[in-house]
């Protein structure tokens, strides 16, 4: 436009024509055009021709015609990402975080004869329901449906809401004097005998039994607990609420403690794979060399654990024996404790990454996670080696964990004491008993790494509480808790990944988005909504599986190699290149 103005300006000289009379005396004033117009022909006899206009227009036109071609040739393939669906999912998750409805079923086993009154059950049900405001906000549990069954000599009465699986009369209060393990299984069969799909129902049985031994609470391997003893109604109600909320819903984690649902990361790779790598470290083989029979014993003990955790993570187990692997922290000899002592402050330096070539596994490809579990056999010079807790006590397990890395157990070989002789290079086998004990510690560490308590102290319970230990390492109700939290955290992480991907793609208009990324995002969204649907039905394990899948797909899309490989130029740069 400016150029046109200049051209126009040339054609009509703007100088005043008749003001030169007085100023003509000024030397600097330009000569007036009128002064010479007399002797020259006028600059233009007719209006400018169209030739020039046509020329200008054709150049402009050719540019305009070329522009779409240029844009076409520099077009970038961008698969459309369903950003609306992502935003929608994120909104849904924020307003309604996934909550798993579950049921609480209280069973009162009365020893007296006669049929119980139906209204009593309803009354108890209402009483229990009022307690649930105690449930902390962080819990993943949603609606809790309460039902009550009362069984006495004459039969059973259930509260109205109950579609109880309780098999009336199969079990009586008298059975509770039996062995706890046996009663646990009996109870399990009385409750239908299966871990079941669909909504999870937790059962708390109050067995009235006046044997004078006082009240005690036992929490079983499945989804039930029972209270034995003479308890009045109010006490029973408070016990039911306590056990249900504290353990079944929160895994015994107190406020202020770290643990599941308290911001701890799950030690699971973003593709849902975990490799548990077990290493036996002989610090100095010149003193003694230990080997283990991990293949048989380890696999046997760990297989149930692996199976139990399958909805959360796909676990592979590996083992190796390493030699010449000294620790890198300092331990001092303590005569009073009869050994070498390693204080808590030295633990961060214990793992010697220079000499412990624990190796990541080839089977742990991509984004899967390796958890190292290390058995450290001290050399003769530092044997026996103990871990000292800050309060001066020795650690009972002689083990510690490092979150997201794994765990270490210091295993003092039998017969090692201060000044013990070198058993020069003898090769020995770690006995099966010792190996199994070590593996138990590892299972405890694994529980802790997953955010559960390694074991329970009946803290905060005013009655004696006992926990039955499952051979799976995790009780059914603990697994439910794990599945719920895993599904939640994976869903949130999946949505966060998808959101960042979507905003990244939007912020870089020149970024190539492959079709495969779009497909992965769609599949991820599908899996996420499936996980949500399962969550609302209270199916924890399949929800966890879907959530894992959703997260893995989201991460796959985000870390797709094509995203990494391209350098994105800014729009200015792009214009600069193509103007060239």
């Amino acid at each position: 436009a400016r150029k046109m103005a200049e051209i126009a300006g040339d054609e009509t000289p703007p100088l005043p024509s008749s003001s030169g009379a007085e100023e003509s005396s000024l030397l600097s004033s330009p000569p007036s055009p009128t002064a010479i117009s007399g002797d020259e022909p006028p600059p233009r006899t007719r209006k400018p021709g169209t030739k020039r206009l046509v020329l200008t227009a054709s150049v402009l036109l050719s540019f305009l015609v070329g522009l779409p071609l240029l844009l076409k040739s520099t077009e970038i393939h961008r698969s459309p990402l369903p950003s609306d669906a992502i935003a929608d999912l994120s909104r849904r998750l924020q307003s309604h975080p996934p909550s798993f409805p579950c049921g609480l079923h209280a069973v009162f086993l009365r020893s007296g004869p006669g049929s119980p009154v139906a209204s009593l059950a309803d009354q108890l049900e209402r009483a229990i329901s009022t307690q649930h405001h105690l449930l902390p906000a962080s819990s993943t549990a949603g609606n809790i449906s309460v039902s009550v069954t009362i069984q006495s000599g004459g039969g059973c009465t259930s509260s109205t809401a109950a579609a109880s699986p309780w098999r009336c009369g199969l079990l009586t209060a008298a059975d509770s004097v039996r062995d706890d393990e046996v009663f646990d299984e009996l109870l399990h069969s009385a409750l239908g005998g299966r871990d079941g799909d669909g909504m999870k129902v937790y059962t708390i049985v109050i067995a009235e039994d006046d044997d004078g031994k006082g009240t005690r609470v036992v929490i079983g391997k499945h989804r039930h607990a029972w209270v034995v003893g003479k308890v009045d109604e109010a006490e029973a109600l408070s016990l039911i609420g306590n056990v249900f909320i504290k353990y079944f819903m929160n895994g015994g984690i107190e406020e202020g403690e770290t643990g599941i649902g308290k911001g701890e990361f799950m030690p699971v790779g973003s593709d849902g794979n975990v490799v548990l790598s077990f290493s036996l470290l002989n610090a100095d083989p010149n003193d003694w060399v230990y080997d283990w029979e991990f293949k048989n014993i380890g696999e046997r003990i760990l297989t149930p654990v692996v199976e139990a955790l399958r909805p959360v993570a796909d676990i592979n187990i590996e083992s190796q024996v390493l030699y010449h692997t000294p620790k890198s922290s300092y331990s001092y000899s303590d005569d009073k404790l009869g050994g070498n002592v390693l204080s808590m402050g030295d633990i961060p330096f214990f793992v010697n990454s220079n000499e412990w070539h624990l190796d990541t596994s080839i089977s742990a490809t991509g984004r899967s996670k390796v958890l190292q579990f290390v058995v450290y056999i001290p050399s003769a010079r530092e044997c026996p080696l103990y871990l000292q807790l800050p309060d001066g006590e020795l650690s009972k397990t002689n083990a510690f964990i490092s979150p997201m890395w794994g765990g270490v157990v210091i295993w003092n070989p039998p017969g090692c004491s201060v000044g013990s002789k070198k058993a020069h290079g003898t090769r020995r086998q770690m006995s099966s008993q010792e190996l199994m004990e070590t593996l138990e510690i590892f299972i405890g560490q694994l529980r802790q790494l997953f955010g559960l308590k390694p074991n329970y102290h009946a803290q905060g319970m005013d009655v004696a509480t006992k926990f039955l230990v499952s051979e799976k390492g995790f009780a059914q109700w603990e697994l439910d808790l794990l599945y719920r939290h895993h599904a939640c955290s994976n869903l949130l992480s999946c949505v966060a990944t998808l959101e960042s991907l979507s905003s990244l793609v939007q912020s870089l208009p020149r970024m190539i988005v492959m079709d495969e990324i779009g497909r992965q995002v769609e599949l991820s969204l599908e899996a996420a909504s499936l996980a949500q649907r399962n969550a609302t039905l209270g199916i924890g394990d399949s929800s966890a599986v879907s959530a894992t899948r959703a997260r893995a797909l989201a991460e796959d899309a985000f870390f797709h190699p094509s995203i990494m490989s391209i350098s994105y130029a800014s729009v200015e740069h792009y214009f600069a290149i193509y103007m060239e």
Partner: protein, 610 residues
Amino acid sequence: ARALMMPPSTARRLCFLSLLLLLLLLAAAASATADAAAAEEFTEELLLRPLPDRKALAHFHFRSSAPPASAAGRHHHLFPKAISQLVQKFHISELELSFTQGRWNYEQWGGYDPMSTNNAKPPGVELWAIFDLPLAEIDATWKNLTHTLSGLFCASINFLESSTAFSAPRWGFKLNEGNLRYGALPREAVCTENLTPWLKLLPCRDKAGIASLLYRPSVYKGYYHSQKLKLKSSQSLGIILDQTLTVVLQPNTVSGKQLHSTGGQLQPSWSMEHLFSKKLSGKCLVSKSSRVFVEIEKGIVDNVDKAGSDVSSNNDLFVLSTAPDRSLKELDNLEVQSSSLYEYDVNNYNSDKPLNVGITWKLPLIWSCTRAPYHASRFLMGSGNERGSIAMSFLSTGLDKQLVDSSNDCSIKAVVFQVVPWYVKVYYHSLEVFIDGNSKAISEVVDKIHVTPSEDKLLPGTMEMLLKFPCSMQLATLTLDFDKGFLHIDEYPPDANQGFDIPSALVSFPEFNSSRSYPEADPLFVSPLLENFKEDGVVKSYTEVLLVPLTTPDFSMPYNVITFTCTVLALYFGSLLNALRRRIGEEERGLKKLLLGNCNLHCFSLNLKC
């Protein structure tokens, strides 16, 4: 890290465990017999040998073996987990990876013994693997394998991923069914960052045992350094991993300190300490056997025989500093004694009594080693950046005269295998053969030839050729012409002006076998090192790496192009604007006016002055 507090197991749990234990003990007892027969094993061995040119050869050999088991790749005691997983994942039935610095001197260090045949490798990295997979999957697996090895050994083996970098020889390298892939990187620099991961595969690393002799400054000061990893895996044998390190060192003795003044001695007397600056203080405790051998070559043995003394560890010519635990006679494939071996069992030595084997010469001695029938070398001909030719020469070493009767129709076979990158475009039809200077028809000399021509940016050129030379021949030369191709500007390596390396060609002589046998050895005496020597070993030698200078572009070219186009565009737009905007006629008039005006003013001022 947090401490973990855990009370001892509950009584009930213990009860359960003890039950389990009982079951397990029963199971263990049943499986113990099977386990004892096939357990993972590790052996370490070292062979030392004086060389005719005042140097010494040290050959480390470590073997780890894993029995075939369902748990392979998951549970291991001695065998490196990483290797086992590699074998499982990529279905490898055989693999060899070597890192070499320096060139094996076939003239001086031998060309007709198991050492040169199996352990002399071309400079840089050489990798070949045989896969137990359908043919269609092999290329993809190879690519993944190169990346894995690259990570495992801290080397740029991943450059072998590109299809221009590897080939699939059928018979020239090793007879196979199309499941072998071969690749070489001649310019890969080899140093301790490759040795450390290699040592990590040994159970004791370099903390104890024979590997503790690997003192980096002395090992890398050597003339030749080749570190190799060889894998064999099968359903029946499990996995056998052979790790060898072959070094040629100059003994760092006081008298032999100056390289060229011999101090009156032809050969320096040396011991382990002179070679590695260390003594051997005991074995790796988990090794099944740990041995050191000193090998005295045929040339010396013959001399000792001539001097009339017995070939023992202390004779008229030399004395070994430590008395050996055993001595062995080595026979070559013609059942002629070739060399003597003295064995030391490292089990008998410890840090209080370290092993320091050495050799002291009593008399100055000159000997030579046995050589391959032909000395093969390869060189470039021609000049300029456009074309050239590759020549290969086979110079007779006179060995055939001793071995075969020189009847008229006798001939010696040689197999040549050579891979040439695509940018060296070899014209295979231009193959010419000269025997003793006279041009020969190709059909007279070439028995069999298999060529895979190169494809631009897709495939390297591979040539496998079976040659038949007359026995009386002294020198044969083969030439092949080539054109030099052009690379894209971003395909050039950082130092493009240095030239491009063409990997070594491999020449093998299928009629000559370098295997050894040990008739006096105890049948219970098992040494993987000597087992490898016993294996069928066709005499092989690698030729030199060729350095081809290619036309390198002016790397500032893109900027020149940018400047050039900018100028053209500026000119175009400038003249277009000019054409649109300027009116020549008016300008001329304006100029006139201006001139006139100036004149007027001038006149006016003149008038004023007047």
